[in-house]
């Protein structure tokens, strides 16, 4: 951090027009704007969304309870297809999570200021997505009540440890680490804002904010350490986020199943994850900015920037598809070729082609600025991206499983209503959490906006000098 040479200005109340803000809010206005949702009663729009989300969540709870009480047989799985919706949803949600970490950590390291308005909600999205994701490995177990067997805890069985060679165990560690670090990162980021809210609140709210703000008083000594901490956490989260989805991809890459067993998966999955994540961020923020009237902070320029990332990652994903098929053809491996031929022409071909359309073809329109700057277009596209990325995982998992080595074992997989309900439920959980977040926590990092504002002001001065 090179010291910025600042000249004296009598007041920061007339900050220059911002690059990443529409309008010219003063520091206290920033606080006002961000704090408003926490103080005023939510509007009809929010209530509608919340009711829908709760209904979906309830559906999920019912389905999962029934499944756990009766058996995995309530799903459509069979002797050949051992995973389908469950792990598809798992990978899907984990993927969603990645955009948040990318925005908050990687873009921080790259000093991308546009992240400031969106990183808080993106991180929130990460955490909720990871929670949704972590749910599925749990409920997909035949005996979920014995989930603790995966923990290498000392026991009276020998002691019998766990199998450190199993990608599923890697998952356990990766996801827990990811969730923990993300939570810490998120919370640390919110402390100064809690302090801000504390100092303008009264009564019980003041007490609550007092507890969570840990006695923050804006001391510059703390600020200095604080920035180091965020940088370090960002530096840790960056390889972490890459490792997490690489490990998730190893669930497949480490197996011997044609269509799963490929070294391409880690980069392919990470790109896909970021891609799907940005899809979801777009969906959320486009909704939020209108729902919460935050157009000032979440500008069309933010959306455009995200659109660019989407375009990039989407193209990587498309390239990966092509590479997979090339490898299958080039390998000369009978089973590999059969699998990929089956993907494109078999009973699940419609999934495959929808996926290709949504993930590889659709984002190409983002080359056009007009599309990148059209909220409506971006919204539609973001939905397509979500659908496509869910299908991608479904295609990878199911088409590879349902036709594997011995043709005698080939069967079809058909989801049951319970599985669909569980998927809906996970969306319910996600949106319930997110809507609550919008109302209970500062969804924009005030202190970062303020910091950028002042920095930009000074940069402005430099420009003038």
């Amino acid at each position: 951090m090179t010291p910025l040479h600042a000249t004296i200005r009598d007041s920061a109340r007339h900050v220059r027009p911002h690059r990443w803000l529409d309008g010219d809010p003063s520091l206290t206005e920033v606080t006002d704007h961000v704090a408003r949702p926490l103080n005023v009663a939510p509007g009809l729009g929010w209530w509608l969304c919340f009711a829908t989300a709760l209904a979906a969540l309830a559906t999920g709870v019912v389905c999962v309870s029934y499944e756990v009480a009766t058996g995995i047989g309530t799903w459509g799985l069979n002797k050949t297809v051992g995973w389908a919706f469950d792990i598809t949803n798992f990978v899907f949600w984990i993927g969603i999570g990645h955009a948040g970490t990318l925005i908050s950590a990687i873009l921080l390291l790259f000093r991308q200021r546009w992240r400031t308005s969106i990183n808080r909600s993106a991180e929130a999205m990460t955490i909720f997505a990871v929670i949704c994701a972590a749910l599925f490995p749990l409920i997909h177990m035949g005996r979920p009540w014995l989930f603790f067997f995966v923990a290498p805890y000392p026991n009276f069985r020998g002691p019998l440890w766990v199998n450190f060679r199993s990608p599923l165990l890697w998952d356990v560690f990766a996801i827990n680490t990811y969730l923990t670090i993300s939570l810490v990162f998120w919370y640390v980021g919110m402390i100064p804002d809690f302090a801000t809210l504390r100092d303008r609140a009264t009564g019980i709210r003041k007490a609550l904010y007092g507890i969570v703000s840990l006695g923050w008083n804006g001391s510059q000594r703390t600020w200095a350490r604080y920035e180091t901490l965020s940088t370090i956490l960002a530096a840790l989260a960056t390889p972490l986020v890459i490792s997490v989805h690489s490990i998730v991809s190893m669930d497949f890459a480490v197996s011997i199943l044609p269509g799963w067993h490929t070294t391409l998966f880690p980069p392919y999955f990470v790109a896909g994850a970021v891609y799907s994540g940005f899809g979801m961020v777009l969906t959320l923020l486009i909704l939020t900015r209108s729902l919460m009237h935050l157009e000032t902070y979440i500008t069309i320029r933010h959306l455009e920037a995200m659109a660019k990332v989407t375009l990039l990652t989407g193209s990587i994903v498309g390239l990966s598809y092509a590479t997979e098929f090339f490898t299958a053809w080039f390998s000369g491996n009978l089973y590999e070729q059969a699998t990929f031929y089956g993907r494109a022409t078999g009973p699940y071909a419609w999934c495959f082609w929808t996926m290709v359309t949504c993930n590889a073809v659709a984002p190409q329109v983002l080359w056009l600025r007009r599309v990148r700057t059209s909220v409506a277009a971006l919204f539609v596209l973001s939905i397509l991206v979500n659908i496509g990325m869910w299908l991608e995982r479904f295609v990878i998992i199911v088409t590879s499983l349902h036709h594997s080595y011995l043709p005698s074992t080939w069967v079809m997989y058909r989801p049951t209503i319970i599985e669909v309900g569980t998927l809906i439920g996970s969306f319910g959980l996600f949106f319930t959490c997110f809507l609550l977040f919008l109302r209970l926590l500062p969804m924009i990092a005030m202190w970062e906006i303020k910091a950028d504002a002042s920095v930009e002001a000074e940069e402005g001065d430099l420009a003038h000098a």
């Binding site: 805890y153 000392p154 026991n155 009276f156 069985r157 020998g158 002691p159 019998l160």
Partner: protein, 192 residues
């Protein structure tokens, strides 16, 4: 300030201790070491196996040939008691049961989970003393479970006795191969 720090440290220490205790309790779930139920007839192993030195296998004849040591049927008891003149309330109970052709529902003391296959004869042949698992029954007025009977406990024996037994068996002209893990740690020895 300092007080706060002290408080926090204490809280942490307490938390750790408490969770440790809980963890230990959890780990004992399903472990019935020390279980000594009352029996319909106060049969004293101390008297029979201890004082009168009736060999274990006389009553629990199954242990030699079968998975199950078995609880002796009444006629085995009567082999002696029809000759003995000694009379106690307990023996009365026994004879009454014989007359009424009534089963005596003994309470099982040593219970293994369903998913464990334990074979008495395997161990008797392997030269394991009854007391290795059942403790000094001959000193017990009422039989109690002396050992934890946990998997770890089984394995300790399998690990320790392994080499020794292997040597003993080889000396006795056993036919298991030299590198035979004996008595064996394979899961499939007990779980199927």
């Amino acid at each position: 300030m300092r007080a706060r720090v002290v408080f926090i440290v204490l809280a942490l220490v307490f938390g750790v201790a408490a969770s440790g205790a809980v963890a230990y309790q959890l780990s004992r779930v399903g472990v019935h070491q020390g279980y000594a139920p009352e029996q319909p007839i106060a049969f004293s192993h101390k008297l029979h196996a201890g004082d009168f030195q009736v060999p274990c296998l006389y009553c629990h004849f199954g242990a030699r040939t079968s998975r199950h040591a078995g609880i002796p049927p009444l006629n085995v008891c009567m082999n002696c008691h029809s000759l003995l003149t000694a009379q106690t309330i307990e023996i009365e109970k026994l004879k009454e049961a014989v007359q009424r052709q009534q089963p005596i529902a003994w309470t099982k003391v040593h219970n293994l989970p369903d998913f464990v296959y334990f074979n008495h004869s395997q161990h008797v042949i392997g030269g394991v003393n009854c007391s290795a698992c059942h403790g000094a029954v001959e000193t017990m007025a009422r039989v109690r479970q002396e050992m934890p009977l946990t998997m770890g406990w089984c394995l300790d024996c399998h690990r320790q006795r392994g080499p020794g037994l292997a040597l003993a068996r080889r000396a006795a002209g056993s036919h298991e191969g030299p590198n035979a893990p004996y008595p064996g740690l394979d899961c499939g020895k007990c779980h199927y």
